[in-house]
């Protein structure tokens, strides 16, 4: 895929706004949505660890959407003291009920966690997200923000069930110094952005239910755009192939979320390819008086041997790459759309071990 210049995303943005505006003008009514998810967090870690990019002391996630007949426009703008990003901006057309084709910047569907929780902390029972599901700007090692086309569809199967399919194709992030750099719709885009293809095929026992399980696939072609990467990676490019499976099982008062990913990293032919596995299992149980207890285990294999993974470990004190983690926490939904959460975790990273404690207030407004 050719390098995408700055103009292309801007062109998409402007074209879509004109398209949507004219589409809406032809109809009498349109409905809109605006939600703000806010959170404040305190962090303490033993040893040299300190709060990293994934632990801002305060953050706000602004979600806005417009729906008019089959047309949809949707955006998510995320703000922290250090970051302001248009995380998602999508324009969609619903061909038939529950089948939508989106154009824009989206969260890749092969992530079991991020397509469910996105950036809204309040809807996530726990405080942290599994390391393998981290965003690119949190030293995440799997591309999460893709700019291109996303097809999503849910169709009936059997008496009550459904099959859900997501397929995404677009521009992958570039591999810059110590991070993946996704296409930015309102900022600069250094580096070369090549092809990303991602998909999810899921089975839902109930068409309208929250339980689902399925298979995940992703292929991301990454090009190193920083000379300092070459000595570490010994390759100009890394083509990631991701194969995964997940389950999100909901049966009140229980919820179980688990996913496992096999990641194959194809490097230049002069060097040896590598692969690693990472996965997690989280169990949640609602208790009386709106308390929820949760625990999560994360584990991995061969990540410590991967030169690709090592690129993301900048040894600045906060843990970027966890090999193993155990977390336990308690959440209290003390009033409508507000919650307090405490989470304790033990992390084994590439170069240290740490015990961490986090406390968080999260809310959804209005």
């Amino acid at each position: 895929m050719p390098t995408l210049s700055l103009r292309i995303p801007w062109l998409c943005l402007v074209t879509s706004l004109i398209w949507v505006n004219s589409a809406f003008a032809q109809h009498e009514h349109s409905s809109s949505e605006f939600e703000v998810f806010v959170a404040a967090e305190a962090f303490h870690g033993t040893g040299q660890t300190h709060a990293g990019d994934a632990d801002p002391w305060i953050d706000a996630d602004l979600v806005f959407g417009l729906t008019q007949h089959q047309f949809r426009v949707f955006g998510e703008y995320y703000i922290t003291p250090d970051e302001r990003d248009l995380e998602r901006f999508q324009m969609g057309f619903e061909f038939v009920p529950d089948t939508v084709l989106w154009l824009g910047r989206f969260h890749q569907p092969a992530s079991a966690w991020n397509t469910e929780h996105h950036h809204g902390q309040y809807l996530q029972t726990d405080i942290t997200r599994p390391y393998i599901e981290r965003w690119e700007d949190e030293q995440g090692i799997i591309p999460q923000h893709i700019t291109g086309l996303l097809l999503e569809s849910r169709q009936s199967i059997g008496n009550d069930g459904a099959i859900q399919f997501y397929g995404g194709i677009g521009a992958a992030p570039a591999l810059t110094n110590g991070a993946l750099d996704a296409i930015d719709l309102i900022g600069s885009n250094p580096g070369r952005h090549r092809l990303s293809v991602t998909a999810r095929l899921a089975y839902l026992p109930e068409y309208v239910g929250a339980t689902s399980m399925g298979l995940l696939f992703g292929h991301d072609a990454l090009t190193a755009s920083n000379a300092r990467i070459l000595p570490s990676l010994r390759s100009n490019q890394a083509d990631l192939s991701i194969y995964g499976a997940y389950i999100d099982w909901n049966e009140e008062p229980w919820r179980i979320v688990g996913a496992t990913y096999y990641v194959d990293v194809k490097l230049d032919q002069t060097t040896r390819n590598e692969s690693f596995i990472s996965g997690y299992l989280q169990v949640e149980r609602q208790l009386l008086k709106q308390f929820t207890i949760f625990g999560r285990i994360e584990d991995s294999a061969r990540m410590q041997e991967s030169r690709y993974v090592a690129l993301f470990n900048d040894r600045d004190g906060d843990i970027e790459i966890a090999l193993h983690r155990k977390a336990l926490g308690l959440r209290w939904d003390y009033t409508r759309r507000q919650a307090l959460t405490i989470e304790l975790s033990h992390v084994v990273s590439l170069d240290q071990r740490s015990n961490e404690v986090r406390a968080q207030w999260s809310a959804a407004i209005p």
């Binding site: 809109s32 469910e116 068409y207 009140e252 759309r337």
Partner: protein, 152 residues
């Protein structure tokens, strides 16, 4: 003795029928019904379609997307809606709607705490679907009852 017994049975039956007849309006008031505008072309919606609609999934009729309207005029209606229509607790339903906003920017259903405003809203929009006590809409010519969702 035999004759007196027959008279007693007759009297008891008559009293029972009278009581039942007198009780009918009260029983009718305890029916939760699915409603649309009188100008709506919707003929019927089955239970799954109703559940999909109020859980934020797309339900269409003759190509038109239906619009769910929540009745929060009294706590009992909300309780029956949560238990019998969406089969969720209040907090789970609220999170489900929030999740729809977060995942796709989907518009959440409009909620009314006034039955008058709800009736006006449904009556004005042929794509709107809601629910209400039968007694609240029985004499409302702008509203059409599709079916009974719940009765006591």
């Amino acid at each position: 003795m035999e004759r007196g017994n027959s008279v007693s049975k007759f009297t008891a039956t008559a009293v029972l029928l009278t009581l039942l007849t007198a009780a009918r309006p009260a029983l009718a008031g305890e029916q939760l019904v699915l409603i649309v505008s009188a100008s709506s072309k919707i003929e019927q919606l089955d239970s799954l379609e109703v559940r999909k609609l109020f859980l934020g999934l797309t339900v269409t009729h003759n190509g038109n997307r239906l619009r769910p309207v929540l009745n929060e005029a009294d706590d009992h209606v909300k309780e029956i809606f949560l238990q019998n229509i969406v089969s969720m607790s209040d907090i789970t339903y609220d999170r489900r709607l929030l999740r729809l906003s977060l995942i796709q920017g989907q518009t959440q259903p409009t909620a009314y705490k006034s039955i008058t405003l709800l009736i006006n809203s449904v009556a004005a929009d042929p794509s709107a679907v809601s629910y209400a006590w039968a007694k609240d809409v029985a004499h409302e010519t702008r509203i059409r009852i599709l079916r009974v969702l719940w009765y006591d």
